[in-house]
Point group: C2
Amino acid sequence: MANELTSTDALVQASFLIQGMLERRAGEHDISLIQTRLLGILRDRTPTINELAQVLGLDKSSTSGLVDRAQRRGLVRRVPSQLDRRSVRVRLTDAGREQVQAVAAGFAGDIATMLEPLAAEDRAALTRYLSEMLVAHAAAHGLDLFATGTA
Amino acid sequence: MANELTSTDALVQASFLIQGMLERRAGEHDISLIQTRLLGILRDRTPTINELAQVLGLDKSSTSGLVDRAQRRGLVRRVPSQLDRRSVRVRLTDAGREQVQAVAAGFAGDIATMLEPLAAEDRAALTRYLSEMLVAHAAAHGLDLFATGTA
DNA sequence: TATTGTTATACTCTATAACTATA
DNA sequence: TATAGTTATAGAGTATAACAATA
C-alpha cells in the first residue's frame, strides 16, 4: 500500500477537506458556502456588483442573485453609488458581520485542530510555502491578494 | 500593508484557488466540479450509492441524482449487485474514464505551474506536510485515505 | 422492521440572453 | 454606443420527506 500522495493529490484532497469544513460550519448557521464567501469578501470591502462578480468568478447576473438572497436575509445592503447612478455598492449589515464572524470562529478552530498533528515549525513552514505560492500566483495574474477596497 | 497570511487564510485561499482551477479545467470539458469529483472517486472504486454519498458528504437522494446526470451523459453505469438486490454499484464507463483523465491532465499542469515559484525542496516539504495533515485527519475520523474499493 | 435506492418537491446556484437606466 | 445592473429562463445541485423493493 502506497502511503504517499503526489503534490496534486495532496493539494486537491486538502482543498476538498477545507471546503467541506467551511461548508459544514456555514451550514450550522443555515448559510451556504458561497454566501459565506460573499460575506467574507465584504468584511473589508464595499464592492460594486461587477467587482464582486470578478472576485467570485461569477457572471454579474449570478452575483446579482447571490446578493438578492443575502439581502433578503438581511446580511447585506445595496448602497447606491453617487458617482455613477447605474452602479451600487454592496455592504455588510451588522447581522451579516456577526454571521461571518461566527462562521469564521468555528472554522478557525477546525483549522487549528487539523494542523495540531504537525510540529509547530512545520505548521509555520506550511503557511509560509502556501503564502509564497499564493503571492506568486496573484502577482502572475495581476491580482492584489491584500486588496482593502477602500478606494 | 501586511504581506503575510494567517494559516487559516493561506489554507482557505489556496483551497479556493485550487477548486477554481479544477472547475475551470472541468468546464473545458463541459462538466461540473462535483461531476468531476464523482468520476475521480470512481477511478479506483465501484461503490454503492450509499458509499458514494458518504464519501461525497451528500444525501443519498442527491447522490442518486448526481449519478443520474452522469449516466445520462454516458460517463457512468449502474451495475446491479448480486449480493443484495436492493443495491447497485456505480462504475465508470470508458468515456467517463477518458473524461476524468483529460481533466486530470490539464489540472496537473495547473498545479505544476502554481508550484513552480517554490524551490524544489520547499515543494517537497509542502507536499509532505499536507500529506501528514491529511493522514492524521483521516485516521482521527476513521477514514481510509487510500481506499481502493476492491472489497 | 430496517435498509437501499428512487421519486416528488422546493430551494439555491449558475449562465445566457434580453432588458432598463445611465454614461 | 457602451456600461452597470436586473430579470426571464433553463438547468444543475442539494436536502427533506415519502415511497417501493428487498433484507
